[in-house]
Structures are given as structure tokens and as C-alpha cells.
Amino acid sequence: MSGKVQQYPIFTIDWVVVVIYILLLVFGWFSICGATHDIGDTDFFSWDSRTGKQLVWMACAGLLAFVILMTDDRYYYNLADAVYWLMMIVLVITPFLAKDIKGSRSWISLGAVSLQPAELAKCATALAIAKFMSSYGRTLSDMRHLIKAAGLILLPMVLIVLQRETGSALVYLAFFLMFYREGMPGSILFTATAAIAYFVIGVRFSTITLPHSHTAVGEFVVLLMIWLFTVILSAVYLPGTSHWRRLAVWGGGATVLALLVSRFVVPFDVAWVQTAVCVGIALYLGYQSIGERIGRYVFIAAFAIGSTAFLYTADYTLNHVLEPHQQTRVKVLLGMEENVTGAGYNVNQSKIAIGSGGLEGKGFMNGTQTKLKYVPEQDTDFIFCTVGEEQGFIGSAGVLLLFLTLILRLVHLAERQTSKFGRVYGYCVLSILFFHLLINVGMVMGVMPVIGIPLPFFSYGGSSLWGFTLLLFIFLRIDAGDRLRAKKR
């Protein structure tokens, strides 16, 4: 090896990621075989079949990856803004050029190939936001900078919602994970997650009651969570005090007592006692804050009060403020009502398919549930259930671990970047991949609402494959460039 050859970034690229990428692609392709072909039908390579087309998309992706690796990484930094705004223009005009496909106007047809600009916009947004954040003095602890950065994300989200691709728009929420790494107050992430959890659980289980009681399960669980979170926050943020222990014992005791009374003496709504506990905790902490470290007490007290208030307003808003059709949409999203196309039924079919895989699966091309076409989007959004059925627990857990390895490896790579641009971009990439994994696999297994987004590298389709390849390999190129310069030094 001469020194000259060593200058090419292809020799400093992170091969672990590349190998995982190829493994996922190959595994994905075999799953598409399983999802679209019957046994005995071995015409995998015909252009008429999904598998044949996917091979072509994969070859294009390989070419794309190669081109990216051969491009000077400084271009990505320099052109980030231009690419971002160009992409926004494309998103604006897309609904006017696109045909209506199942109510969404997001596909631009280019001869034999249809492209979904929303998939490519993720990459453009990631680059733009990385550039924005890497400018000198930008810090997310500063609210103004956080709002500007959030604006860069909200713009494509809104444009994509206008194309009626709500699922793809939600993916942009993933960037908040990167914000967290870059210094966004953790309480925002925590509060947002808690709010979503309250809402989903509170509304989802509001119609079921606890046995031998008038208490709604949703309300009960959410109030229990509020109490638990408050105790944990007290333990973490008020170290060295015994407050959290007191809150745990009193609150827990009162709840258990209320449950026992409701069970054996007279049935009543335990949620009232729990609400009283939460308000009591807030008052107690408010009282303690007088004369002590005010900020933290007030924050925790506000959290307890805010959470409790949120639970009741969310319920009220859903049932009294929203129009009936909006209520239905929320309820369908939460799986409380079957929608007209039978999303709930499909998830059940998908669970049956996965469940029937057992430990080792039925073997490649032997899945039957998935071939009966009872699960829609079998080769796109619901591809993971083919893996579950044909490869069993071993195969599907393997795929999950492969994704986990990829994400953790990307965390490692992002952390070793010498430039903030590289690091932020790296976190964008891994956040998006994580979000897709979280929603897609969760949806297929029936633990997440049905939001139609693809499983990276697995789902059939050129646009999404190229979008993810672009995203990933630009990061690999930035990392490789970084390593190269480090070696030279």
C-alpha cells in the first residue's frame, strides 16, 4: 500500500456499518421474496416482480453510496443550506405534480420510477440542521437557538403533512433526540415523552374499569405514573433529602388503602384519591421550597400539578372540544376503533403471522399467513411480519439486534467526530433510523399505532432505500474524511 492510495476515504470508512448495511439489505430482499412470491415461484429476478425491481433499486443504491464516498466531504457542509431550500421548493410543488395515490399526493412519477421527495428531504434537513447547529456559539440551552432549529424541522413537517403523508412527517420528531444530545434541557424530552404516554394510556384505556371499582384503568395508570415520576424526580434532583421516601410511602400507602377500601368496603373511584395524592405532593413540595433550593422543588411540584391537569384536559379536549371526525381519527390512531380499512384487523393479522413463526420460523418462502395477503402493505410497511413468520424469533430478534448494533455503532462514530457538524449530522442519522425502527416494528407487533412508515433497508421501494442510503453514507463519508485527516496529522 502506498501512501497515495491511502488518501482515498474509502480506506478509512467504517466497515462495521457497511457490513451491517449490506446484511440488512440482503435480509430485506429475502423477506420481500417471502412476502411477494408463492412457493415454487422462483422468478425472483424478473423486472415484473417486486424482488426484481428491488434488486435494481439496490444496485442504484450501491452506485449512489459509491458516488457519495467519492465526493469531497466539504461539499456536504458547504451546500447544506442550498440543498435544504431546494428540497423545500420541491416539497412545495410536489402536491401539484403528484397523482393522488390513496389520498396522498407525495409521489412524483418519472417514467417507470416514482420518487417520494419526502424521503429525500430527511437527508437535506439533517444536513441543514447540522450546519446550523455547528455555527459558532449556537447552543440549545439557549431557547432562541432551539426555536430556530425547531423551525428548520417544522417547515418540512408542515409541507409533508400538506401532501397527506402524516407518517413521514412524524419522522421529523426524531430530531429532538439529537437536540437532547446537543444540550436541549432533558426536562423537555422527558415532559414531552411523559405527556405522550399520559395521553395514549389515559385515552386508550379510559373505557375499561378496574375490577371491583369505578376507576378507569387509563386514569389509574396515568396517576400512578405521575406519582412514580414525581418520586423519581425527587430522588434524582433532591439528593440527600428524605423527601422522596416520604412521598413514596404516603402516596403509595394512600393509593393501596383506597384500592382496598374500594375492593372490600364500598366501591368508589380510586382516581380521586390519587389526584389528591398528586396535588398533595405538589403542595408539600411547594411548602418545602420556601427557604430551600427553590428551583428544583418548584419544578417537581409544577410537574406533578401540570401532569395531573394535562390528564384531565386531554380527556376533556378529546371528548368535548374536538369534532366527532377528529375524535375518530385520534381513536383510530390509538387503536380504540377500527377504521374503515380495518387497521385493527390488519394488525391482528400481522400479530398472528409473527406469532405463528415460533422459535425458528417456517423457513424461507414457507410463510403462509403472509402470502394470503391478509396483511396489507406486506412487502413495504409490514415487511417485519414476514421476517417474524419465516425466520421466527431467532431471525426477527437477530434483525432487531442488527439494528441496535447499527444505532450504537453510529452513536460511537458520531461521538468521535472532531467537527460539531459531523457529530450533529451523525445523531440526526441515528435518530431517524431509531424512530423508524421504534414505530415500524412497534406497529407490526401491535404496540404502536399504525403509522405507515417503512422499515429502513428492508421495506420494498426505491425512494426509501435511496433516502436511507443517502443519509447513512454521507455520514460515513464525513466520518471517513475525519479519520483521513486525523491519520495525516
Binding site: 408463492d38 412457493i39 415454487g40 447552543t139 440551552s141 433526540l177 437532547y180 444530545r181 446537543e182 444540550g183 432533558g186 384487523y345 391482528n348 400479530k351 398472528i352 409473527i354 406469532g355 405463528s356 413463526g357 415460533g358 422459535l359 417456517k362 414457507n366 410463510g367 403462509t368 399467513q369 402470502k371 394470503l372 391478509y374 417474524g388 421466527g392 424469533f393 426477527s396 430478534a397 432487531l400 439486534l401 439494528f403 441496535l404 444505532i407 450504537l408 452513536v411 458520531a414 461521538e415 460539531k420 445523531y427 441515528l430 431509531f434 425502527l437 421504534l438 416494528v441 412497534g442 407487533m445 404496540v447
Partner: protein, 613 residues
């Protein structure tokens, strides 16, 4: 970087979240795939059987509640290829009564079908009657991989109304591609009402999810049927058609080509719609449908064509009513103005013949005697009025707009598939055709419903209904009631023409005069004031015979059109047929003399050449 707070420890939180989510998901996978008893039972791919529940198709009644179309049970023998192993083929063939050659051929056919799957039941033999199936059913269990599916088959109570009712048949590849409700082997309305109201009639399929043991025996419902869907039966339709009237109409059309349409003017409901030649809808049922359909499609007389809505004919003199109305509205004629007619329209070397009658002649008698010259003058004055319209083109546009408002030139929107729009020429058409140099004289024949003008019998009948209503019409429709629903609002709101109510009185008076002392005195029915208008449409061959009319003059109950291809003068076939239809509807029966007339007309057949029309 210095001065910025360092958040790099947060990488552990982010990595931690990823690890926790993946671990939780693996626990979920583990519980789905290895722990849950429900799903473990299903590890065998045969554990589930999805039994599609087919809904009964909606029934169809006539306006008096007589049942026209109903369902009977029929069975399909299905085969699931990958389960069908090691059966005694000969025994099987003997049981269901087919030859081994047919068996081999059928199997090959199934395998070569587009979208064939080894795992789903494929139709092997369809539409087996209940009696035949009773024998087969006893032994079907012996043949692994074969199963039966209960369907319904359509039955038509009478041989009438084939063009209205249409039929059902197996879905085509295109149907499946357009609507994912359908899957292979399903039935869909192919023609007529069955097609137009497919969504209403079909209902909704349901599904039972059954659990099976290793031997393929059903062990019960999956989760006590929690995920089952019940089939929703199709909804019934009540047609506006009067079956007796329909029967008479079809009788009168025997041996002739043409159509009869009758409409209730006050609602737009179609009382009868006959097209000849017709066919027996009962032959479009069952296993022979394909064969019979092919034969009908190949017939040069085109029995599958519903001439009432698909035949576009020159309306002939019936069209003069439209001309009188729009002329009065536009002021190119007045009720009192009279035009000379010396055996026709003679002007600037152009001659268009007419038969003998007094001259000059004013509007009402002109309609009564169907004077060609009068309406030529009308159009000439209208198109030539540059003072009012600015140009011939603008006048032509005004003329066309009037006719469109009367329901010509576009589909009316009847609830049947395949309606044609007919032709009302506009200025652009003539500009292109005559390279810009044309005037009223060039196009004068449109004033008497000849030339470029064509219309469907339905549109002509709608004209009669509009005159009967004095200026508005409801879009003609065949369905009066949908069980548990209402008919489309398209059919319940009136459409007004651009001609004032008062001018209609002259059209009515003219049509009345035609019956009292004009071209169609044979249309008179004792006890009713009948209004009518004949039409004799020139044509390459023998003239077409047409009649449109309505009765009674005040408070009309029926508007009718009879259009007989190559029937000669309007008075020959059109008038007597139209009169009989009106009489039957108004009186509920025919008088004795009318009975005899009907009998005679029924057996009066027109000789048509062998040329392909």
C-alpha cells in the same frame, strides 16, 4: 468548543433508550412467538381457516312490488392445491360427474391463472345447483383439498327487462384491480341496474376465522369469533318500472328494431324501457353465461345494445317542439306569425320539401301538421339575427345552449351504465366542418331534427316529459326506492330549461292539435286529452318511425316515446305503439279493440336486410 457545556454523557442516555426499546421489543416478540398459547397453536400454518361469508345480493322489485330478481343457493367446489394430494382422481370425477380429461384440463387452467396461489382455495367448479350439490356434499370430505363454498345465484322471475336489469358474472381482472373489495371468483353486476347499483346490491362480505387441527378438521372459532366479521346483506331495490307496461312494450317491439321509453313526468321515473331485439335474462345465469353472452355479442342485430339509451337516432320532427320553444323564447317567431309553405321551404335556390297543407301557416297548426317550412324559417331568422347575437356563431351557441338545457347533447344521467350523449352540433363544429363559411341555410336541416342532430329515445322521451311539465324535468331514473337509503339527489331536483313557462302552452297546444286534427290522430285515447308529435326521420335506408306524446294534457301522468328503425312514417308504427302504451298505463288495461290492435302490431314484423348495422 471550550466554553460550551459538554453533554457527551448524554450518549449513554440515548444509547440506553435504544437498548431498552430493542429489549422491550424482543420481550414482545418472545411473548408473541414463544409464550402466547393463542399464537403457539397457530404455529402450524393450517391452524387458521378463513371462511368468507358471502352476503345475499339485494332483491329487485317492480314499482308495484312484484319480485323481479332474487337469489337461489348455489355451490362452488374449491380446490386448495397444496393440500390436494393423493386423492383418487377417478373416484372424484365420478362423484361430481366430470370426465378425467376435464379434470386435468381444469387443473391446468387454474394453475395458469394470473395471481394463482397454492394456499388459497381456487374455484374448481362453479354454480352447482342445490340438488346436484346434495349428492356431492356427502362424499366431498373424502377428497382432501377440496371444499365447498356456498354462494347465491341470481334468478330472474320473468324474461322481461333484460336491458334494464342486466346481469351478474364473475369479476374480471380489471374489476379486482379497481376495487380491492373483490377477489377472484367473486360476482359483480355486469350490465344494467346490477352494475349501476353494484355498491348497494352487493352488501359486504364477512369472514369467520376458524381453527383447524392437523387433520384439517374445524375445531371452532378463533377467540370465540371476536375477530369474525358478519356479512352484511345487500339492500333491495324497487324499480320505477311497471312490469305489465314493460311486458306490453316488449310485445309491441317484437320483430322490429327500436325502443320504447315511458316516463312519469312529475318524478322522472321510468315506467318502461324496452329495446328490441332483446334477450331472456335467464339465459345469462349459471354456467352457460359465457357461451350465451358470446353468442349475443356476435349477433349482427346487436341484442345486447340497449337502444333506448345507447341508440343515437335523428329525432326527426319530434325535434320541432324544441325549435318552436326556443324560437318563441328568442323572439325569432311569435305565436301569431305565419310563414308561407309552398310544398316546402324555398329560398335562394334551396328547397326542402313539405307535404300539402294550407299556407301561410301560424305556429300551432304548423306543429299540428308538422310543417317543415315553418321551422326552417324559424332557424333562418334565429341564426341570421346579427343585430341580436352579433354573429351566426353566437346565435348558434345560443341555439345549442337551449337544447343542452332541454337535456340534449349530453348524457342525461340515467342510473344505467353505457348511456350515450347524442349529438347537438355547435358553432365550433360547423366552423371546422365548413372551414368557417356556413350560415343558416347550410345547416337548415337541423331545424327539423335531421342532419347532424341525433338523440337517444330516452332524450326524446325526456323532451315529452319536459313539455308535459311545462318547462322542467327530473333526470330519468329507474330506481324508485333503495331499502334503508334514499335515491341520489341528482334524481330529485328539477332541471329547468331556458324557455319560459308561458311558451310551453303553445307547444302543448300544437301537440294537442296534432292528435285532434294533425299527423297523429291515431294516438287519441277515448276519455283522455292526448298530446303527441310524430317523427319521420330520414335515413340511409327506409325512414325511421317515431312518436312522442304525453297524456292527459293537464296533469300528465305519462310521457312516452316509440322509435322504430326503418318503420316508415311516424304514423305507421310510432303512433299506434305510443298510444297503446299510454292507454295501458292510464287505464291499467287495454280495451278490446286495442287488444286486437296490439295483437296485430305484435305480429307485424319488419324485414331488415342482412347488412351489419
Amino acid at each position: 468548543m471550550s466554553g460550551e457545556p459538554n453533554f457527551s454523557n448524554r450518549k449513554y442516555v440515548i444509547g440506553g433508550i435504544a437498548v431498552v426499546v430493542v429489549v422491550l421489543y424482543m420481550v414482545r416478540l418472545f411473548s408473541l412467538q414463544l409464550m402466547s398459547d393463542d399464537y403457539k397453536k397457530n404455529a402450524d400454518s393450517n391452524a387458521f381457516r378463513k371462511d368468507i361469508q358471502f352476503p345475499a345480493r339485494g332483491l329487485i322489485y317492480d314499482r308495484r312490488g312484484k319480485l323481479l330478481v332474487y337469489n337461489e343457493a348455489s355451490y362452488n367446489i374449491m380446490v386448495t392445491m397444496n393440500e390436494q394430494k393423493g386423492i383418487d382422481t377417478l373416484e372424484f370425477c365420478r362423484t361430481i360427474g366430470i370426465t378425467p380429461e376435464f379434470y386435468e384440463q381444469r387443473m391446468a387452467e387454474i394453475k395458469s391463472k394470473h395471481g394463482y396461489s397454492r394456499y388459497t382455495p381456487q374455484p374448481f367448479l362453479t354454480q352447482i345447483t342445490a340438488q346436484e350439490f346434495a349428492v356431492i356434499n356427502e362424499r366431498l370430505y373424502q377428497f382432501k383439498g377440496f371444499s365447498a363454498e356456498r354462494r347465491t345465484v341470481r334468478h330472474y322471475a320473468t324474461g322481461l327487462g333484460a336491458h334494464i336489469l342486466g346481469d351478474v358474472g364473475e369479476v374480471s381482472e380489471q374489476d379486482i384491480a379497481e376495487d380491492n373489495y373483490y377477489s377472484r371468483g367473486d360476482y359483480i353486476g355486469k350490465l344494467g341496474i346490477e352494475r349501476a347499483y353494484e355498491d348497494v346490491l352487493r352488501g359486504e362480505k364477512g369472514m369467520h376465522i376458524l381453527l383447524r387441527d392437523v387433520h384439517g378438521r374445524t375445531q371452532g372459532r378463533y377467540q370465540e369469533g371476536r375477530y369474525d366479521k358478519a356479512a352484511v346483506p345487500g339492500r333491495d331495490l324497487t324499480l320505477s318500472v311497471d312490469l305489465e307496461l314493460q311486458a306490453l312494450a316488449e310485445r309491441l317491439l317484437e320483430g322490429k328494431l327500436g325502443a320504447i321509453v315511458a316516463i312519469e313526468p312529475s318524478t322522472g321515473e321510468v315506467l318502461c324501457m324496452a329495446s328490441s331485439p332483446t334477450y331472456d335474462p335467464r339465459q345469462m345465469v349459471g354456467r352457460d353465461r359465457g357461451k350465451n353472452h358470446k353468442a349475443l355479442a356476435a349477433d349482427p342485430m346487436k341484442p345486447l345494445l340497449n337502444r333506448a339509451i345507447m341508440g343515437t337516432y335523428p329525432p326527426g320532427s319530434t325535434f320541432k317542439i324544441t325549435q318552436a320553444l326556443l324560437g318563441l323564447q328568442e323572439g325569432s317567431i311569435t305565436p301569431d306569425i305565419a310563414f308561407p309553405c309552398s310544398h316546402g321551404f324555398n329560398y335562394k335556390g334551396l328547397h326542402l320539401g313539405c307535404h300539402g297543407h294550407s299556407s301561410p301557416i301560424p305556429l300551432v297548426p304548423a306543429i299540428g301538421t308538422s310543417c317543415n317550412a315553418y321551422f326552417c324559417w324559424n332557424l333562418y331568422r334565429l341564426l341570421g339575427n346579427k343585430g341580436k347575437y352579433g354573429s351566426t356563431q353566437a346565435a348558434m351557441t345560443c341555439w345549442k345552449n337551449h337544447l343542452v338545457a332541454m337535456g340534449f347533447g349530453y348524457k342525461l344521467g340515467i342510473d344505467l351504465p353505457g348511456e350515450r350523449r347524442g349529438m347537438i352540433p355547435n358553432a365550433d363544429y360547423y366552423d371546422e366542418h365548413y372551414k368557417g363559411s356556413w350560415n343558416a341555410l347550410t345547416v337548415i336541416s337541423i331545424s327539423i331534427g335531421q342532419g347532424e342532430v341525433t338523440a337517444t329515445p330516452l332524450q326524446i322521451c325526456n323532451l315529452a316529459a319536459t313539455v308535459a311539465n311545462r318547462g322542467y324535468y327530473y333526470v330519468p331514473h329507474l330506481v324508485k326506492n333503495i331499502q334503508g337509503s334514499v335515491i341520489d339527489t341528482l334524481y330529485t331536483k328539477p332541471h329547468y330549461t331556458k324557455v319560459d313557462r308561458r311558451w310551453y302552452d303553445y307547444a302543448v297546444a300544437g301537440m294537442r292539435k296534432a292528435v285532434v286534427s294533425g299527423t297523429c290522430h291515431a294516438a287519441a285515447i277515448p276519455g283522455y286529452e292526448v298530446c303527441g308529435k310524430t317523427g319521420t326521420a330520414q335515413n340511409r335506408g327506409h325512414d325511421h318511425s317515431a312518436f312522442m306524446g304525453f297524456a292527459p294534457m293537464d296533469k300528465p301522468r305519462i310521457a312516452v316515446v316509440a322509435y322504430i328503425e326503418n318503420g316508415g312514417f311516424g304514423a305507421v308504427y310510432g303512433v299506434p305503439i305510443g298510444a297503446l302504451i299510454m292507454e295501458q298505463y292510464l287505464n291499467g288495461k287495454l280495451s278490446e279493440s286495442s287488444q286486437a290492435k296490439a295483437e296485430k302490431l305484435q305480429h307485424q314484423h319488419i324485414k331488415y336486410g342482412d347488412y351489419v348495422r
